[in-house]
């Protein structure tokens, strides 16, 4: 069976683990559990009528306590760059992390997820900023691990993009 390694990247507490849990187990826990190191999970999806195993690398959010090892990304076929739409800084952090990734590994299929879109009243990303990101070539999705909005879609589309590569 075809296997594709997909990495989840972004600051701490943006919801990377929750997105994976929603996608793999269809569950959501409101409490924040920080990730230490990497959580490896698998899910089989159907793409173009074919079974593909997505090996999901949920990598801890980078902060002053933990720096991300670029070696974790070795061999990945795609990645989801996750920012918390209610914390503007996490978008800046995600984009700066992306620059490092591109510098190291070149262009790899990736989507930008603005997560926690269920928290509309706390949203800090301006529509104009989102437009700019789209203009800059990003596939941007507003997701919610809580409600499941767009979660399945982004993983499946990324699997497709990874296969098409």
């Amino acid at each position: 069976m075809i296997q594709k390694k997909v990495c989840m990247l972004g600051s701490f507490s943006v919801g990377k683990t929750s997105l994976v849990r929603r996608f793999v187990d269809s569950i959501f826990d409101d409490k924040y559990h920080t990730t230490i190191g990497v959580k490896v999970d698998k899910k089989i999806v159907k793409t173009n009528g074919e079974d593909v195993t997505l090996v999901l690398w949920d990598i801890h959010g980078e902060d002053v306590y933990q720096k991300m090892r670029m070696s974790y990304l070795r061999g990945m076929s795609g990645y989801l760059l996750v920012a918390d739409g209610t914390r503007r800084q996490t978008l800046e952090d995600a984009l700066s992390l992306n620059e490092r990734v591109v510098q190291e590994f070149g262009k790899i299929p990736s989507f930008l997820l603005l997560n926690k879109c269920d928290l509309r009243d706390q949203w800090e990303i301006e529509p104009s900023q989102e437009s700019k990101l789209i203009g800059a070539g990003w596939n941007v999705f507003q997701t919610s691990a809580k409600t499941g909005d767009a979660v399945e879609k982004v993983f499946l589309q990324l699997a497709q993009a990874a296969l098409d590569k």
Binding site: Y32, D63, R69, S71, R74
Partner: protein, 691 residues
């Protein structure tokens, strides 16, 4: 039991799985296959001694690259994978860690189940990150409150500014002595109240908002080297605690004159902020050096560290932006460097940062030398009780100046000329650079006040033409440019063309007086790149970008009439006149822009948007100005793709402005139009409109 078996059993019970690397992805299991391995990766391959560990765990497959590299290097120590988590057959998460060792040529891989100790580690990280989240949230709350407070105080000061203007106007009338006393009391009290409000603002919002709007109250010239040394003394203990050496640059000649404008307390705070920043990013055992240098009429202060240098992913301008902070999040609310920037620029200086060639970063700021300010300023009585700006405004100019005002926008020309005439000067208006040059050939003017962009001949071209004509003579026409542009590059261009000073639009009455009169008083004394101040105050003739930004910020919250009231010094007739001109001209300009967009005429759009932008700025209509500016930029870039959208935004903003100005125009109809105050050499159409 053989000794080897004992160790193997011990390791297995302690949660270790041991393997010997045989090459080509093959591993030999040493000892037993632990239960936890079985629950994650299944039974050990039957009838086999070896296992391809990379096949059962994607994480280990990845780590083997690093492990092999380590084994091949034949180094000592170990290679560690870092923590990872996999799920076992029951869905439980098992925390793991792998290490590679080289023992007597044997390549060992140890995989460890961390379940026993992981909870503790998890709790530690959880607490730390929860705290970071709370901290972030708190910062955001503070920021919101800062902004709210700023808006409230801004709104509170607006009517006070108007009251001050009214008292100021009343004072000029021939009032009976008793009444004059009352007016004086009123003026003094309203100023006192304004100061109190600003005091509250400063106390609450610590750094920024007070700076945005505060009047300068200083006439002192502190010694920058003294401030730097004081900062070194104050911070040396804190640096020592961080194991970083702090020193004052021994090359600095202490006997030299390092006086600059400003006040010592704020300079101390600037050094303090820069030093806190340096301390945060300096590795242990390094040195931070503080010093001052002479820089052709300016004093440059610097803080050099030996840290990692500036972040590559952050533009220098961002470092000093409001609420900006380092990527490591170890900074505060992002106010410190912003405070430094607005304070330094308020005193006519500049600030910046760079990565040093020898490593580390340099944060610096440059201020004009105090003697420059003294040379251009007036007598000592300016420094007495009243705030300098107010005092300056009240004081009649030493000389009645003849001023030529060149601006293609009637409304701008009228406003500037009115302000000048109110001040007692003679103002003549022309509509472009060519007319200005022609007028200067026929008549003498003390000062040419010229707009940057005009049809036929721009302000820059006119300045170059005038300077060429002066070449080889002793003549020097004082030329002051005004511009709505906002880049340092533009300012440099102005100065290179030969302008003596630059004013930004929209025109600020007090600054206009200060710059004009300082420039003309100094005439040939005025160096082209100098910052001139009047009345002991330290405002620069060349307004800086942040001052404009600060002004723009205040405009955003203002209403058009209040803004106009302030710009015109409360001259109702002039306000009526300006509103009428705008309401007559803007719809035409908008129609012109609409046509230009429909016909995809980029140059026409840029020209029309430029004119309208200047007019709108007078009313403090910041959003409309921004839209006009965008449209002008689109026109110049010959890219009208987004112009229709922006144009609609501009129309909406103008409709809003028209509603805001309605009370003025109603009044205007009752009182009829005010008579013109400006002599206009050409363009009779403009004249007609004014009557």
């Amino acid at each position: 039991m053989p000794a080897g078996s004992i160790f193997e059993s011990f390791f297995a019970t302690q949660g270790f799985a041991l393997f010997e690397f045989l090459g080509d992805g093959e591993f030999r299991l040493i000892g037993t296959w632990p239960n936890w391995c079985q629950s994650m990766w299944g039974d050990f391959p039957a009838n086999q001694q070896n296992i391809r560990i990379g096949d059962v765990s994607p994480f280990l497959e990845n780590f083997l690259f690093d492990a092999e590299q380590f084994w091949n290097s034949k180094g000592s120590g170990s290679a560690n994978s870092g923590n990872w988590t996999e799920r076992d057959s029951g869905g439980r998460e098992i925390p793991l860690e792998a290490s590679a060792y080289l023992l007597d040529g044997t390549r060992l891989l140890i995989v460890r189940n961390l379940s026993e100790t992981f909870d503790q580690q998890q709790e530690l990280f959880q607490t730390a990150r929860d705290s970071l989240l709370v901290y972030e949230k708190l910062l955001r709350e503070i920021q919101k409150k800062e902004i709210l407070l700023h808006c409230i105080v801004h709104d509170l000061t607006q009517p006070l500014s108007a009251m001050n203007s009214v008292f100021h106007l009343l004072e000029r009338e021939h009032l009976p002595a008793q009444l004059k006393k009352y007016v004086k009391t009123g003026e003094r009290e309203s100023q006192r109240q304004e100061l109190m409000i600003r005091g509250i603002l400063e106390a609450f919002s610590s750094d920024l908002a007070a700076q945005n709007s505060a009047q300068e109250k200083t006439g002192e010239s502190p010694d920058l080297a003294d401030c730097a040394q004081r900062a070194v003394r104050e911070f040396s203990t804190a640096f020592r605690d961080h194991d970083v050496r702090l020193r004052f640059d021994p090359r600095v000649k202490k006997s030299a004159d390092w006086r600059v404008p400003g006040d010592a307390a704020r300079l101390d705070r600037i050094f303090g902020n820069l030093l806190e920043n340096a301390m945060r990013y300096s590795p242990k055992g390094t040195t931070v050096t503080v010093g001052v240098e002479d820089e052709r009429g300016f004093v440059l202060a610097f803080v050099d560290d030996e840290g990692p240098g500036l972040p590559k992913d952050q533009a220098e301008s961002q470092l000093f932006a409001l609420f900006s902070k380092g990527k490591s999040h170890s900074g505060k609310a992002g106010l410190g460097l912003y405070f430094c920037k607005i304070t330094v620029e308020r005193w006519g200086g500049t600030i910046g940062a760079q990565t040093r060639a020898q490593g580390g970063s340099r944060f610096w700021f440059r201020l004009p030398r105090a003697e420059k300010i003294v040379a251009a300023s007036h007598s000592a009585h300016m420094k007495k009780t009243a705030p300098p700006e107010t005092h300056h405004e009240k004081q009649k100019p030493a000389k009645r100046l003849r001023i030529l005002v060149a601006d293609d926008a009637d409304i701008n020309r009228e406003l500037v000329a009115e302000l000048l005439q109110k001040r007692g000067h003679i103002a003549i208006g022309v509509a472009d650079g060519r007319e200005a040059v022609a007028e200067l050939e026929k008549h003498d003017f003390d000062v040419l006040l010229i707009d940057e962009e005009m049809p036929n001949m721009t302000g820059l071209q006119a300045t170059q033409a005038i300077r060429q004509r002066e070449a080889g003579t002793t003549r020097h026409q004082i030329i002051i440019g005004f511009s709505g542009h906002a880049t340092e590059e533009d300012e440099r261009k102005f100065r290179d063309a030969g302008m003596d000073a630059i004013l930004s639009k929209p025109v600020n009455m007090q600054r206009l007086y200060q710059v004009l009169e300082s420039a003309s008083a100094g005439a040939n004394l005025l160096p082209r790149t100098s910052h001139v101040a009047a009345g002991g105050a330290t405002s620069g003739a060349t307004e800086t970008i942040s001052q404009r930004a600060a002004l723009g910020e205040s405009l955003a919250a203002s209403n058009a009439i209040a803004h106009l009231n302030r710009s015109t010094g409360g001259n109702l007739k002039l306000m009526n006149s300006l509103a009428s001109i705008l309401l007559a001209d803007a719809p035409k300009a908008l129609a012109r822009m609409g046509r230009a967009i429909a016909q995809n005429d980029a140059a026409e759009l840029a020209a029309a948007a430029h004119l309208l932008k200047g007019s709108l700025a007078i009313f403090g209509a910041s959003k409309a100005v921004e839209s006009a500016r965008s449209l002008e930029a689109m026109g110049r870039a010959v890219n009208l793709r987004e112009a229709p959208l922006e144009f609609r935004a501009l129309e909406t903003e103008f409709a809003q402005l028209r509603t805001e100005l309605a009370p003025l125009t109603k009044k205007n109809k009752l009182n009829k139009m005010p008579k013109a105050k400006i002599r206009r050499k050409t363009k009779p159409a403009a004249k007609r409109r004014k009557r």
